[in-house]
């Protein structure tokens, strides 16, 4: 048991370390010079050398990497010159917005996918199944930014059901007091119902847009697996014991069919938490996606490195959670315990 956990932790650390190294090296081997980008095309060689020294870019790569790692552990994540602020401030200001949106998108995608896959396979009505398949087909084939624009046009401009692309809150709403940085949860804790409603209305459309493709993917996956499992012999055996179709489905087909969906769900969650550029742009969402793209274009090393490191950690943590859940559902992959 201890050895299994230890090896998992070791593997995860190696993955995170590897990600940090790759991000670090790639940023620096690509052509371009951040010092020149900062000072502009008219700066003298002298000034650029000066700036490079100030940023530590004149040091050998391994020294730069060592300083970066030391900074990560001591809480100094560097300066984001493209934003004119410390990376830490920028991330704390923007990451929760992306994470909140990603979480809502994931909840929508996962819950609805499971429900619809169940309906599609349990009811066995060709029409119902056909509609659900068509919806998932549409979801996979539609570019999210286009869907977001159309949704804004219809629901905000034409029908006035949802607010426009104001970001996380309307222009007349103050942010709730900070507990978790998630506006909906903070507003709930503070009991500010108007703020809660506003935050919720603002997050609904972007979450729907962002979650559409993951939802479609999960529906297809779970539907296919449920169909496979419901043809298994043990389902016939369970029915021969006298259990009804729904019991057999719920207690036997679903747990067996759920594992691939769980894996895919974990990966999608990690991806969604890390933000999305296009959807954030469309809805003016003050998330991390736009910041990262800007930083890549401007060779803002510190921001990109931090972002890659954080997403690697998110992936590793979510995957560890999935591993644990796997063991709960399927005894065959359970970590061998002392008997």
């Amino acid at each position: 048991m201890f050895r299994v956990v230890a090896s998992k932790i070791l593997g995860a650390s190696v993955a995170v370390f590897g990600a940090s190294l790759v991000a670090f090296v790639f940023m620096r081997v690509f052509p371009g010079n951040p010092a020149r980008l900062i000072l502009g095309p008219l700066a003298s060689e002298q000034a650029i050398k000066e700036q490079e020294r100030a940023m530590g870019l004149d040091q050998p790569l391994w020294v730069q990497y060592w300083r970066y790692i030391k900074g990560v552990f001591s809480g100094n994540w560097g300066f984001a010159y493209s934003a004119g602020d410390s990376v830490k401030h920028e991330v704390i200001a923007r990451l929760p917005a992306s994470a909140e949106l990603g979480l809502y998108a994931f909840l929508f995608a996962f819950v609805l996918a499971v429900l619809l896959a169940l309906v599609a396979t349990y009811r066995r009505r060709p029409v119902v199944d056909g509609v659900i398949r068509a919806v998932s087909f549409f979801g996979l084939g539609t570019p999210p930014f286009w869907f977001g624009l159309i949704a804004l046009l219809l629901f905000s401009q034409v029908w006035h059901v949802f607010p426009g692309p104001d970001g996380r809150l309307g222009p007349n709403t103050l942010p709730p007091p900070t507990y978790t940085h998630f506006y909906t949860i903070d507003a709930l804790i503070a009991g500010q119902w108007a703020t809660l409603g506003d935050a919720f209305m603002h997050i609904l459309l972007p979450a729907l847009t962002l979650g559409l493709a993951p939802f479609a993917y999960l529906v297809r996956l779970l539907r296919a697996n449920l169909l496979d499992v419901s043809r298994e012999n043990f389902i016939v055996v369970v029915r021969s014991k006298g259990l009804g179709r729904w019991s057999a489905f719920q207690h036997h087909a679903l747990p067996n069919a759920f594992l691939p969906t769980l894996t895919a769900g974990g990966l999608l969650l990690a991806q969604l938490l890390a933000g999305s550029v296009l959807v954030e742009k469309v809805f003016n969402w003050p998330g991390i996606g736009a910041l990262v793209v800007d930083s890549i274009l401007r060779q803002d090393y510190a921001v990109v490195q931090t972002f890659v490191l954080l997403s690697a950690i998110a992936y590793v943590v979510v995957n560890a959670l999935v591993d644990v859940l796997y063991g709960v559902i399927d005894p065959r992959v359970r970590i061998p315990m002392a008997r």
Binding site: N233, F234, V237, S240, K241, G242, G244, H251, N256, P331
Partner: protein, 345 residues
């Protein structure tokens, strides 16, 4: 030849105590290739506590027959006609909800492949307790106790300790014992065993059959044993129904059938069983060709293209054979072959 000719002969001796009476049961599968007639007006009956073998090749409709009796035919299949009486009660017209009280209690199933017949993510104990508690008001604890007893009955070693194991921790033979325990948990009157030993090696087969035989004898449970292995039938059953292309083509007492076969198909089946007392060099006799497609049956006898007796004969190619009833009217041999009378005289 009309459909009516396929109707069963006049009912046999009515005063016997039948657990199961199947009359003219018909099951079709509606596929893209057309209607597959998997079970074509099959009649069979099983006396209380007796053991009956249903033999035939793969694709002869044996498993479809078993599932039809249990009311477990799933779309695109459907039972389209006939009657199934269990303990004298007509069950073919019952709703699924009503059948849920019958399955696992009055009639249960031992499924072919023990490797896939148990839910891989549920404990063995849980799967036994499930069938007990579905049919009886019993505390979880009492049901567990009963499950341990059942595992002991089917001779699973260290039953108590192995109750919380999962199927992948059991061997094939042990899993089939678990299946038998599940099937017998509520002391049904009839167990339908669909190829219960096919996936097992010969030694394990013998052990599993021994366990099944002992338990059904103790409980006076009737068994419908579906198999293509005539050696098992010889050992286990007192009556045999030979199925071919969805029909029962011959029915007889086991000893009668093994002595003389009214239908050439029965004879061919029997001949293709390896026998240790007739060791001879050369390949084992096989039946040439394949069973006909149940979606496109030939107009005459379905066995005609493969038949050593009737191949090419006008009568066999054009006329479906009537069931021929021979021997003791109380206990007749019935064979669907134009030459059955000649062959058995």
């Amino acid at each position: 030849m009309t459909e009516a000719a396929l109707e069963s002969p006049a009912a046999v001796a009515p005063e016997k105590d039948f657990v199961l009476e199947v009359r003219d049961l018909e099951t079709n599968y509606y596929t893209h290739d057309g209607v597959v007639k998997a079970v074509r007006k099959v009649s069979l009956e099983i006396e209380r506590g007796h053991r009956v073998g249903v033999v035939g090749e793969s694709g002869s409709g044996k498993s479809a027959l078993a599932l039809s009796i249990l009311g477990l035919i799933e779309p695109p299949g459907r039972v389209v006609g006939g009657s199934v009486k269990l303990n004298g009660r007509e069950i073919s017209a019952l709703s699924d909800r009503q059948m849920q009280q019958v399955r696992g209690k009055e009639v249960s199933l031992v499924f072919q492949d023990p490797m896939t017949a148990l839910d891989p993510v549920k404990t063995i104990g849980g799967q036994i307790v499930e069938v007990i508690r579905h049919h009886r008001r019993m505390s979880r604890k009492a049901a567990r106790k009963l499950a341990v007893e059942l595992l002991r009955d089917v001779e699973v070693p260290h039953a108590e300790r192995r109750l919380d194991d999962y199927p992948h921790q059991y061997s094939g033979g042990m899993r089939q014992r678990v299946m038998i325990a599940i099937a017998l948990a509520n002391e049904p009157d009839l167990v339908v065993a669909d190829e219960p030993t096919t996936a097992l090696d010969v030694t394990t087969q013998a052990q599993v059959l021994e366990v099944l035989e002992r338990l059904v004898t103790e409980r006076n449970t009737a068994v419908m044993l579906i198999t293509h292995n005539l050696a098992i039938v010889a050992e286990f059953c007192d009556r045999v129904f030979v199925m071919y292309a969805g029909r029962v083509v011959e029915r007889a007492r086991a000893d009668q059938l093994f002595a003389r076969q009214g239908h050439p198909y029965s004879e061919a089946l029997l001949r293709s069983v390896p026998r240790p007392d007739m060791l001879q060099r050369g390949p084992l006799p096989t039946i040439p060709g394949f069973s006909p497609s149940l979606a496109h049956l030939p107009p005459g006898c379905p066995f005609e293209p493969r038949c050593p007796v009737g191949n090419g004969l006008e009568v066999c190619r054009t006329a479906v054979p009537y069931p021929v009833v021979l021997g003791d009217p109380q206990d007749p041999v019935v064979a669907e072959c134009h030459f059955a009378a000649e062959r058995l005289s």
